[in-house]
């Protein structure tokens, strides 16, 4: 006596793809025939519903669908850009703030012919940096959120123009200051 059909083979029997040897077992085994008949009953019930056609949508639906999809894509893309633009504005504001603070500190750093110890210079730079930072914070606090965005949004090419006015040594010093600020910020 051969073994009963597996679940997989019962499904094959239902779908008419069971191989000859197992088909012979099915012919001789009442239990397996009953199992397959149960499956067929459910299958027939499904086919009753499957034979009901999907109703045709309103005539304009197909034409409108392309427009609806296009609008939805544009709306979601616009929303994404609004979000991205907000983050970019924030990043630009942060960069501008860094520039202002660093520039303020650089402008007020003691000139070369004044002898100041390194420790004193560091304290002074920090103090002046704090003053500049306080000034910027006060200005920002007095503005509405949208105004802050407008004020801090750099004009196109503003950074390039500003950098172009610096000499080579000034650019090196500026780069060092930026690097120091970034290092400090990341610690």
């Amino acid at each position: 006596m051969t073994t009963h059909l597996t679940d997989d083979e019962r499904l094959d029997a239902l779908e008419g793809t069971v191989d000859a040897a197992r088909s012979a077992h099915l012919h001789d085994c009442a239990a397996c025939r009953r199992e397959v008949a149960d499956l067929r009953q459910v299958w027939d019930g499904l086919m009753v519903d499957a034979r009901t056609e999907v109703p045709e949508p309103p005539p304009m639906f197909w034409d409108q669908l392309q427009v609806r999809v296009g609008s939805a894509v544009d709306t979601r893309t616009a929303a994404w850009w609004m979000g991205a633009r907000g983050w970019m504005s924030l990043a630009a504001a942060a960069a501008m703030l860094l520039l202002v603070v660093s520039w303020g500190a650089r402008q007020r750093t003691p000139v070369a012919d004044v002898v100041v110890s390194q420790a004193d210079a560091a304290i002074e730079t920090e103090a002046i940096g704090d003053t500049a930072q306080q000034f910027v914070s006060d200005v920002l606090a007095s503005l509405e959120d949208e105004a802050v965005h407008e004020v801090l949004r750099p004009a196109t090419g503003a950074f390039d123009d500003a950098l172009a006015t610096l000499s080579a040594s000034e650019r090196e010093a500026f780069a060092r200051l930026l690097q120091a600020e970034l290092t400090e910020g990341s610690e």
């Binding site: 679940d7 997989d8 019962r10 499904l11 149960d38 499956l39 009953q41 459910v42 299958w43 019930g45 499904l46 086919m47 009753v48 519903d49 499957a50 034979r51 009901t52 056609e53 999907v54 109703p55 949508p57 309103p58 639906f61 197909w62 669908l65 392309q66 609806r68 999809v69 296009g70 939805a72 894509v73 979601r76």
Partner: protein, 187 residues
């Protein structure tokens, strides 16, 4: 080149060429994709929710997701298979949140059986509605498998490709779905 000429040219392209054209920046290629596959996608969606309004929303959502995801389409599967997968995922996500509101069946309009009397059609319609209610209670993967096997008449291989997994797993899902439906319909 006029718009109508562009559209005519795009209509002549196969699916893969359309996708490439879209990825290269030809947005109207996506309109052609929508026009070509909207009916099949709508039918999949309708089978999940059984009403036009939800099916229309789902169809729109499928194409919006396709718009965003098409850049990742590598052409390993057919575009229709890929869209089926997107549609099934969108439908399962939606119907996991809301059980479908099933429209009352109009058997005289939808059942394709011209030799049946009125009483038989009503009985058949009620049975079909029972089947739909039972399908709606199936676990998501079993429900998707039944939809694709019975209503879309896809092979187990195609279903495995759409749902992800092996052919054996797809067949096992279908077998268990039939068993669950049998229990639900008997009760």
């Amino acid at each position: 080149m006029t718009d109508s000429k562009v559209t005519a040219d795009l209509s002549a392209l196969d699916d893969l060429a359309l996708v490439r054209s879209f990825v290269d920046g030809e947005r109207t290629a996506f309109d052609t994709i929508v026009a070509r596959h909207q009916r099949a996608v709508y039918q999949v969606c309708y089978r999940f929710v059984h009403n036009h309004e939800d099916a229309a929303d789902l169809t729109q959502d499928v194409f919006v997701r396709a718009f965003k995801g098409l850049k990742a389409f590598r052409g390993d599967a057919k575009l229709s298979t890929w869209l089926h997968r997107v549609a099934v995922n969108v439908c399962l996500n939606r119907t996991a949140l809301v059980r479908p509101g099933i429209e009352p069946l109009d058997p005289a309009r939808h059942v394709d059986d011209r030799s049946e009397d009125a009483f038989g059609m009503v009985a058949r319609g009620e049975r079909a509605a029972d089947v739909r209610r039972a399908i709606a209670q199936l676990p998501p993967k079993q429900r998707a498998t039944v939809m694709l096997r019975v209503y879309q008449e896809l092979s187990h291989e195609a279903i495995a490709e759409i749902l992800g997994g092996t052919v054996g797993a797809a067949k096992a899902n279908f077998f268990h779905a039939l068993g669950n439906l049998k229990r639900m319909l008997e009760s």
